[in-house]
């Protein structure tokens, strides 16, 4: 075999990183509806919440499937270590997603059994969000590996630290969900959503702060990265804080679209901060991107197809959001 002319590994890292943040932002606000669901004042509000994400949620979830399959294709080592290490968590995630998925399908068709689907949606969404947050925590903690295999125990991923990141993501998704709802609703529902933002923002900041304090303790590598001399990455948390302030201000000014955009910004900067902490490790503490990559020809083979499909999917996604733009009403959508 001759050496490849150029290395696709970093292109693939970019694609996967892009897929993950797409998933987090997009499924985040619809999982957020589920997390807030049972706290809504009335069933009328719940109708609006569900309708506001009904046309788009399954498209949002497809990013997850694409991420899973893409990992297997481009970074098989990540796939074959994360999934065994997070075995129970992955099951909870999938079970949660299934229950909330079918709740979407059946709630509007149900009458006397509607409360069951309400709970199915709420619990499923919360469990799925928590599991995803715990995955992030487990990633920061790192995995016990030997000879390219996971050798830790079934519940190694479940520590006080990952519980904290799990709760953090639940709160974060709830915040995304609330700001989304401000944009998509009006009247009493919107009023309720406005009230949620500041407490949720406070909760998110406190938890994110605790996580930031905790991270260097669970992982020395991260501590070095951040405290070994002043570096440009300190810009990221500063931008994150600025976004938090932006959320606060725009809600005080009762803007409708800005809080959601500001929350997305908060997520993006936090995410970049996380990536920067670990770069270039994908399976901390032992394996880097290059170690985890699949063969060049396999990366190339799939890349060709994706280059055609991803732009089309993006255009279509944008188009769907455009078609369903504007305020949502309770009686729209389903019967």
């Amino acid at each position: 075999m001759s050496e490849p002319v150029f290395d696709l590994t970093y292109i693939w890292a970019g694609i996967i990183a892009f897929g993950v943040i797409m998933y987090v932002l997009m499924d985040g606000f619809d999982l957020g509806q589920g997390i807030l669901f049972m706290f809504a004042p009335s069933d009328h509000d719940r109708d609006i919440m569900m309708n506001s994400v009904a046309p788009v949620w399954d498209g949002n979830e497809t990013w997850l499937v694409l991420g899973g399959a893409g990992l297997l294709a481009a970074f098989p080592l990540v796939y074959s270590i994360f999934l065994p290490a997070l075995y129970i968590g992955v099951f909870l995630l999938l079970a949660g997603l299934i229950f909330r998925g079918v709740a979407f399908e059946f709630r509007f068709k149900a009458h006397s059994s509607r409360y069951l689907w309400n709970w199915s949606f709420a619990i499923g969404s919360t469990v799925a969000a928590f599991a995803q947050g715990a995955v992030v925590g487990a990633y920061i903690q790192g995995f016990e590996t030997e000879n390219m295999r996971y050798v830790g125990g079934a519940l190694d991923w479940l520590t006080p630290f990952t519980v904290l990141t799990g709760i953090g993501l639940v709160a974060g998704y709830a915040l995304l969900g609330a700001t989304w709802l401000i944009m998509k609703s009006e009247g009493s529902t919107q009023e309720w959503a406005y009230k949620l933002v500041k407490p949720l923002l406070a909760a998110v900041l406190v938890i994110f702060f605790a996580i930031s304090i905790g991270t260097p303790f669970v992982d020395a590598f991260v501590a070095d990265r951040w405290f070994d001399g002043i570096s440009a990455i300190w810009l990221l948390p500063i931008l994150g804080l600025a976004s938090a302030f932006w959320i606060y201000r725009s809600v005080s000014q009762r803007r409708e679209g800005t809080p959601f955009i500001a929350t997305m910004a908060l997520f993006v900067f936090t995410y970049l901060g996380l990536l920067a902490s670990k770069w270039p490790y994908v399976v901390p503490p032992n394996y880097t991107l290059a170690d985890a990559a699949s063969a060049h020809e396999s990366q190339l083979f799939l890349l060709i197809g994706l280059l055609f499909v991803i732009p089309i999917v993006l255009v279509y996604t944008a188009w769907t959001y455009w078609v369903f733009r504007g305020k949502v009403k309770a009686d729209q959508g389903y019967h």
């Binding site: 270590i81 509007f108 999917v313």
Partner: protein
């Protein structure tokens, strides 16, 4: 008792994939049928076809939704339970499985919405086109997934370096030796599934005397189709078997219940294979027929299971009986379709209650055949994951414990039981609502572009 993570993983994989498998065959077959109906609607401009198409599109929406939900689980199973296997085969299976997802993604994004919600809003021609694209999409999807599976049966186009497979020739790997047979057999199985479901449901409407003119037409058309497709499937199945004999002789030996390599092997109609004693009890068979079918020579030599040592043998009773169940279903399908031909005179097929009742029962037959067919294929491959190269034991996740595997096995079982019960229950509601309930709703344009919301029936 010590819980064996390997055995539990095998059971779990078999369970989740079998659960998933019943939906794709249904959606693939139905998608083609719907495309056919909308094609007729487009050509004849007869609103009847529109109505029929709308009815089956609702059924399609429900089944498709369940296929998606169960499919998401599948794409993580390889990593959770078979991580060594995933790591070793990722260079080939990764891109191939990703292409499946990408295809599904693309298809769902672009055409499903139009098919499900576009009626009355887009011209008939566009609607027909969307239906056609959806059905082509389901075939592309199965193309990739079956290529992946066939490669595991008859690996090709790869070389192993340091325990990792590397693809040296993509087209040899994708179009491996068993691929076309499996693709044809599975495609046909999907058509038969669609066909027998449509026939069964139409028969039920005829028994109920609802919308009879429409369902008679549907039934008549479907019976013609089945008359040609059922024998064709038997023929393809035979070719598939001959190909398997070439590449996986032990599997064929297990299908035939043939322990010792011998000339003029009988076709066993009944036997109780005994793995421990490496023999059969209570054999009833037709002399020399198996040799004739597989070698086209009455005295041809058939390989025996014992050519492999016991630890490299598949479970013979399961393979043997699954194969018989599949073939029995196949022959039964031929029989029922041929009887339909004899009942053509005076349209007797729509008046004879016993025939309509038979058709109703036959709705189950393709599902039984498909699952038992997969059991033959997959159990017969044991103990290998990649045939002849990597065993189940080598592929399983090393860190997996019996307790973890048991926990998720029970978990998936419970989750699927809930989902399946709700789905099946709702599906019967949709069918009961019938073609009369498919009138267009005014405010459709605000509806979500998602599968189930295309269905009208109330849940409870």
């Amino acid at each position: 008792m010590e819980l064996d993570p390997l055995l539990l993983s095998r059971i779990q994989f078999a369970f989740v994939v079998s659960f998933h498998a019943i939906f794709p065959v249904f959606t693939i077959g139905l998608a083609s049928y719907i495309a056919l109906i909308y094609g007729l609607a487009f050509k004849t401009n007869n609103p009847k076809w529109e109505r029929l198409g709308a009815f089956w599109t609702q059924v399609f929406a429900v089944v498709f939704g369940m296929g998606v939900v169960s499919g998401i689980v599948m794409s993580f199973q390889f990593g959770t339970n078979w991580s060594n296997f995933s790591l070793a085969t990722a260079n080939f299976l990764g891109p191939v499985l990703s292409y499946e997802v990408v295809t599904a993604f693309f298809l769902e994004a672009a055409f499903l919405g139009v098919l499900l919600f576009g009626r009355g809003k887009v011209p008939n021609g566009v609607h027909f086109f969307a239906a056609l694209m959806v059905s082509i999409g389901t075939f592309i999807s199965s193309f990739w997934i079956l290529s992946a599976n066939s490669w595991m049966q008859t690996p090709a186009g790869v070389e192993i370096r340091d325990g990792i497979y590397h693809v040296v020739d993509w087209s040899t790997a994708i179009f491996n030796e068993s691929f076309w047979y499996r693709f044809a057999h599975m495609g046909m199985a999907s058509f038969l599934t669609g066909g027998f479901v449509v026939a069964g449901v139409s028969a039920w409407f005829l028994i109920q005397k609802r919308d009879t003119e429409l369902h008679r037409k549907a039934l008549s058309m479907t019976l013609w189709l089945l008359l040609f497709l059922t024998p064709l499937q038997v023929f393809i199945g035979d070719l598939h078997g001959l190909n398997t004999l070439e590449h996986q002789p032990t599997k064929v030996a297990a299908m035939e219940g043939n322990w010792d390599t011998r000339k003029g092997a009988p076709l066993l109609l009944f036997a109780i294979p005994d793995q421990e004693q490496q023999t059969n009890h209570f054999e009833v068979g037709i002399p020399k027929l198996a040799s004739f079918i597989l070698t086209h020579d009455w005295d041809g030599e058939l390989p025996g299971v014992k050519e492999k040592p016991p630890e490299l043998q598949p479970n013979v009773p399961i393979v043997f009986w699954s194969f018989r169940v599949m073939v029995a279903m196949g022959l039964l399908m031929v029989l029922v379709s041929v009887i339909g031909l004899f009942l053509r005179r005076n349209r007797a097929y729509m008046h004879k209650r016993w025939y309509l009742q038979t058709l109703r029962l036959m709705t189950l037959s393709p599902f039984i055949a498909v699952l038992s067919g997969w059991f033959v294929t997959e159990v017969g491959r044991a103990p290998y994951l990649v045939y002849g190269q990597m065993t189940h034991a080598e592929g399983v996740t090393p860190s997996l414990t019996g307790g973890m595997a048991l926990f998720t096995l029970i978990g998936y079982f419970l989750v699927y039981a809930c989902v399946f019960a709700a789905g099946a229950y709702y599906l019967t509601r949709v069918i009961r609502t019938g073609t009369e309930g498919t009138e267009q709703h005014e405010d459709d344009k605000h509806r979500a572009k998602r599968p189930l919301s295309a269905a009208e029936a109330s849940f409870d």
